[in-house]
Symmetry: C2
Subunit: 475 residues, 2 copies
Amino acid sequence: MTDSWVNSAERIGADLHLELPGPGGRRAALTRALREAVRSGRLAPDTRLPPYRSLAADLGVARNTVADAYAELVAEGWLTARQGSGTRVAAGVTPPPGRRRRDAPAPVPEKAASRARGARHDLRQGTPDASSFPRAGWLASYRRALQQAPNEAFGPGDPAGRVELREALAEYLARARGVRAEPGRIVICSGFAHALRLLFPRVLRGPLAVESYGLGFHRELLAGASVRTLPLPLDEDGAQVGALGRERAVLLTPAHQFPTGGPLHAERRAAVIDWARARDGVILEDDYDGEFRYDRRPVGAVQGLDPERVVHIGSVSKSLSPALRLGWMVLPERYVDAVLDVKGEREAWAGVLEQLALADFIDSGSYDRHVRRMRQRYRGRRDRLVTALAERAPHVEVTGIAAGLHAVLRLPPGTEGQAVEAAARRGVALDGLAVFRHPEAVMSAPDGLVVGYATPAEHAYGAALEALCGALPPG
Amino acid sequence: MTDSWVNSAERIGADLHLELPGPGGRRAALTRALREAVRSGRLAPDTRLPPYRSLAADLGVARNTVADAYAELVAEGWLTARQGSGTRVAAGVTPPPGRRRRDAPAPVPEKAASRARGARHDLRQGTPDASSFPRAGWLASYRRALQQAPNEAFGPGDPAGRVELREALAEYLARARGVRAEPGRIVICSGFAHALRLLFPRVLRGPLAVESYGLGFHRELLAGASVRTLPLPLDEDGAQVGALGRERAVLLTPAHQFPTGGPLHAERRAAVIDWARARDGVILEDDYDGEFRYDRRPVGAVQGLDPERVVHIGSVSKSLSPALRLGWMVLPERYVDAVLDVKGEREAWAGVLEQLALADFIDSGSYDRHVRRMRQRYRGRRDRLVTALAERAPHVEVTGIAAGLHAVLRLPPGTEGQAVEAAARRGVALDGLAVFRHPEAVMSAPDGLVVGYATPAEHAYGAALEALCGALPPG
């Protein structure tokens, strides 16, 4: 691999041994390959990358694939994009540090490094503040769990999950979320996506009604399991459950519609329970950020209305960290054995020691304390977002701010795409509403930006807001 | 639920709300329901259970399903079976302890309790000695990992796994197993079954050649992914790879054929690599217990012969504990992006903090020390098994003892089933060779017992061997 390669777009495919997989993975593969080339120094700082069009032609991919990969790497700080100057390798990128040794000081993490260069503001939704993980409290729980665990905990695990965790969750979910749970109806899993995989297609079958806006990743996962998803329209009261047709299952985000932001109205809650009883249907309740509600009392879980009609699904991915890979389902009794059957004879997924640590973390009150602390912090961030917009872009309406870790900025019709691009040029990574829209949705398609305000480090949040406001269309 | 239930077989289905799922899960569901009934006290000690036949008829399941459930619960110590007295609830079963509190002393675990009653000897293969988990060393590694982790470690994870762990594994696997690995070709997963799920059917397609004896769980998992498996005959040199036909992929256990016990002969190793090169095929190498070799130098991984033709798969489930749910694949370069694409944009499975802890555990030398210590211990257990058999059952040949955590006792033709039943009556849980046989295998079907010697606690191992010897057919 010679340095002369770096200006030769034609050789990217050859020299990186870049074998792009089938549809769906090309963008990710290209992004990875380019990132690696920058990281390793093969693409030197300030090198100008080939135009979208020519690289796309060389690789036989769509132009948008290349544009998306460039945009992601700009947002991550590996590349810079300035109008008139094209896309270049960022100047501050340094060769990779050597392998971290145990006794060496922790390296400056990539994200922090790119933030320090001012090249990255990650306002994508979906991730809590990684700098606020309660390291000391979690370590204390892990230590107690490891010291107190019976020997059998180190053997094959119960596929339902550790009973200690299921008992802790049953109590916590009842108290904090109004879930009517008992340990025997809880199954531990690795997170929401794992829950979907356990349910479909072997326990439940499609078609599955979903909200017209939601995570594309979940739709793709369901499609991969041959589950057809049918979009329900949304309005200010949440999903229009009156539009449910012949489906036998519906997936909802009742506490905080994802991503548009409102709770499901009480009448809709009652209506969807009535529907499930009348049609022998089931409601999947994705309670992804139900703990984080700011301006009024938490909205209880729909599951509390009828535990036999609702699969309540949650995880610690927003409340603690997606690094833990711990989630749960509270199941109607009739599904418990079938889900355990799919899961297998032994626990094959969720780490048993961290299950025990989480049980201790909840039982000891550390979980409640952490959630309260983060609620304060996120509320503060939300308030700063609202204030900044009121000052800098008063024409932009902010919605979905009563709860959660993200808000939606409503934009004038036709301006969303430009705003996302303008943000990327300022080093701001975020998504527009369009990427969350079900491809078959028939409701109107509002323009908007989904702003995750949990991710940036505290010291970098002001600059992120500044960059965001600068990217908004004029009033 | 009244006590009068306990002698009324007819009411098991009704009163336990026992909804047996579809084929495949009925035995597990029945076992669970019965265990719960005993545990909760609803089935009182010494209660006689209904005969297989009548309970099977009541529940509409096969007689063998009931027999298997009873046998499992006998082996676990919940039930006892004496000839002429039928199957009864064990006398020593006590009501469940209350929920464990943080500051309470650890309860006596179920397994230890049943062992103490002398009712259980678990000689099933597949699990390491749970009492030997290196709690202090692992906690030290977890602490260092948690303290040194950069903040970004608590955000979304790289689906390839933490680079710290991939670097540690690359070095370890090269040194200990002769694997030619580099971090960029390692993908972290939750264990061997997860690796199979990542590969099939989206990266590799069936049919897949397998060894005529292996884990039924793996065959079922593959069948669930619509992968047809074709059995290769085995002989004293391992799998007869010369019989490979038009398949493009073969799954082997080259270090220690599971469960029959021999290594794949050097000529076979070369032959299967030649096959893969000639047919553009791929070898899946299940290196499930490659670290535990007693009488000669370890057999290196087949992967070392040609990294572009072998997917090397390993985990810590045998070397440390199945509770951790950490495994890895070392992939030919052409599969890396496709596997990552299946895994998703973010780590959804393997816990990131325990990945970092394992990296530290390996880097610090703790992993090597633990493996050496366990190798000593398992060798000692194997020697005791061989000695006990030489004294008590000299007519029984022991094979597959050069490595691993289990041995195979060869039995006279037609005696395997009786020996398994005789063992169960003595409270010994183990499997015969028959359960590992591929249903389409055409090779001869030897009689034998697969004896896992890692699981019993140290103090209980002598009694387990005693009970085992008493169950063997006379010479």
